[in-house]
Symmetry: C2
């Protein structure tokens, strides 16, 4: 038993020397995720060879782990019989994911090679929005009736287990397919053979609705520490389940999306090294352009103060410090609230409590920064570097700092809440956007205070 | 079956009117995570009442979900017998978590009320670093011998299941406790009663080492889609397991930590509304101070250019735009690389590929931004607003933009890689830090170009 279960170098070597039997036995013991990584080390014309070497069931498991580009290349190399075999092994949610990624001609072939029943299920599942519980659920779960005995349940499990995405949580439905309870394999093991499913099932199971957001579904799985959640339709009929491994994928995706949005990028799904420079440019340029153009306002503010600034050029030297400190303060508040919103810790109704808390934090941060800045102005700037700092100038700078931090924190904490309220993604209200607004605020405060205190 | 399994209002009402029997039956059907949320709605003197109402096993499950402040209040209200009962129901990893959160006197009581064997295990587990596989693993797993039959295995499961954190994956060890394979309940169900565990076990199971980083462990669970991973020591002896629900908690924690660090904050563990203003101040002020003081450099750059700037005050108006665009460009690159590092998509060895890719993106972004900026300068600033934009000034601004974006992307992509290389957390190399460096770079470029092209 090793960390990486097989050596890629050894496998490549076996492949090149055409020792297929040895390669097969090497790969047979490996994890699907590792074999999928191995596919990234080999050349396009070797894909089909390696894939055909794999035992059928393992091949399908590897197929699911491959990225869509590779999946398409493989499908195009498949005969209809091979395609059918792979499709048979896939779970419904994976088939649907595949169909959503493939071009029309490949989708056509996939549907043509599915059984009539599967085609019906696929079409049902494709109707749900991508980002809903229905869009990520699978239909391969174990369904019990209330009047079955534990022994009958075990028989059913032994018969059907191989085709189910999970058997560890089973679902009990009535004649109209309404979800009435869940039974875990643990409870089956602990019950007597003659016990009735209806008597050992847990009735108040948590479930989600087909149209619930997939992020909410993932969060529920995390909250309740369950291995799967049942998905019901508006009439409370059980239509599918979402398993914990899919929930983890959703969490990953959503986190990466948030990281991108909060840093002025459009989300991309591909790993970095596989994303072309053009795709990276496409994901980055829109926000850069928007934020650059909106900086016109800060330019206007400085322009309108141009003459006064010419008489006190020293004021210019502190513009970057004031803008950055404002931006950082606002960014801290906004990110804190964006995350709290996304974890369900705060709601719009908490606005007043949040503003109150941020006000206190802003005052403490503002005063600390102003005090340190004051000391720095006289010790470092004036004494060490000989800059002409007068008391009025120091006052203008430190007061601006205080007020900017205060405004930045308030803007930072309210904008994400407002965005959420009007149905936007709060994540775009992070640092880059807040910075642009806070820049303008800090400059306005700075120049007004300078006018007032320096009598410009 | 409902979304929120019970109404908090109804429960509070039952509590206030002392209808404890009804409250008990209401809570008995509820999920532990929901009851833990309910505890946040009631007052301190009601904690012990509600806790004593709960059936013992449920009470322990709720206890694990409570935050440490509440846990401490409850423990202090417990008699030794009550404490013992709760401790008996806890899994080892939860007990260790509890001990790590509690003050010394409470820890003493917990250890005094644990059995001798548990105390030994606790002390073993406490030796592992907090953030290692050993620090998050539990010791309650099912252990089979190779020569057991499937029937014997089932008997063992039925007998021991209730005390194990998971039974769905069981572990096979030799006489020296070395991990030699894993057996899932699914494979047990599909095997014949007389089959030997040694024959049906999967031998090449993925495992992690006690000192592996917990983030790595969580990522492995996500990668291999498993419900638990075995943890082995340096001699490959099986010492514990990490289950998928704990992996999800680790993922959450790590994500929140990264969001904090990447936005100039020290991570805090408490939910926002429960964090005091003073704690928020403590997590935010260090980076604000550091970044403010490092802005001294930008001030020095501007100061040294003061005289020239006085003759061309218009240049000042574009400082915010240049700084922000540089900061945003650098932030995009750094966050992309920080995430790719954390997902294991790139390593330090990819430095050249990354720099090459970012160079291409930087050139495309820089040229696009410069072109749009050029048009904007003449259409908006000059024509619409009457600012005195001359061709040389426009050239200085647009060239600076291009070069700044270029430098920002290069700094943004290399710093996280270097940080990782020398053992720092790449996450601190995000926007706020990059912005401070890029500010200085953009000003230097701006003023040098101005000197050159405007002959100042």
């Amino acid at each position: 038993m090793e960390r990486t279960v097989f050596s890629f170098d050894q496998a490549v070597n076996l492949l090149q020397t055409k020792k297929y039997a040895t390669l097969r036995s090497l790969l047979s013991d490996a994890e699907p995720a590792d074999i999928a990584e191995f596919f990234e080390q080999i050349t396009r014309n070797q894909y089909a060879i390696v894939f055909r070497i794999l035992p059928k069931e393992l091949a399908a498991e590897v197929f699911v782990e491959l990225d869509s580009e590779l999946q398409q290349i493989l499908i195009e190399s498949f005969s209809d019989i091979e395609l059918k075999e792979v499709l048979e092994e896939l779970y419904m949610d994976d088939t649907v994911d595949l169909i959503e990624e493939m071009p029309a001609n490949v989708v056509k072939r996939i549907l043509a090679n599915s059984t009539g029943e599967d085609r019906k299920t696929i079409n049902e599942l494709l109707k749900y929005p991508d980002d809903s519980a229905g869009g990520i659920m699978t239909t391969e779960f174990v369904r019990f009736k209330q009047n079955m005995t534990v022994e009958e349940a075990f028989e059913m499990l032994r018969r059907d287990a191989i085709d189910k995405e999970t058997i560890y949580t089973c679902y009990v439905t009535d004649v109209n397919s309404h979800l009435i309870g869940i039974v875990t394999v643990l409870s089956l093991l602990l019950a007597s053979k003659d016990a009735l499913i209806g008597d050992i099932m847990e009735e108040n199971a948590v479930c989600v609705y087909t149209l619930d957001d997939k992020e909410f579904v993932a969060a529920q799985i995390g909250k309740y520490d369950v291995l799967a959640l049942p998905v019901v339709d508006a009439e409370h009929r059980l239509v599918g389940i979402v398993t914990v491994d899919d929930a983890i994928d959703v969490m990953h995706e959503e986190t990466e999306e948030d990281f991108a949005k909060m840093n002025a990028m459009l989300p991309t799904e591909k790993p970095y090294l596989k994303t072309s420079s053009f795709e990276l440019w496409k994901s980055r340029i829109p926000w850069l352009l928007l934020l650059m153009v909106s900086a016109t306002f800060t330019g206007m503010i400085i322009s309108s103060f141009e003459e006064a600034l010419a008489t006190q050029v020293i004021l210019t030297a502190f513009i970057p410090m004031l803008m950055d400190t404002g931006g950082n303060s606002g960014g801290q508040a906004s990110v804190t609230i964006i995350r709290a919103l996304s974890m369900g810790e705060v709601r719009f109704g908490d606005l007043l409590r949040i503003v109150w808390k941020e006000t206190a934090v802003a005052l403490m941060c503002g005063l600390t920064l102003a005090a340190v800045c004051f000391a720095k102005l006289f010790v470092v700037d004036k004494w060490l570097m000989g800059t002409e700092i007068t008391m009025p100038i120091a006052l203008v700078i430190c007061l601006t700092l205080c007020i900017t931090v205060f405004c930045a924190k308030l803007i930072g904490c309210t904008l994400p809440l407002l965005a959420k309220k009007i149905g936007f993604d709060p994540a775009v209200m992070a640092s880059p956007f807040i910075t642009t607004i806070v820049d303008a605020v800090s400059l306005l405060v700075y120049f007004q205070l300078a006018k007032l205190l320096l009598k410009l």
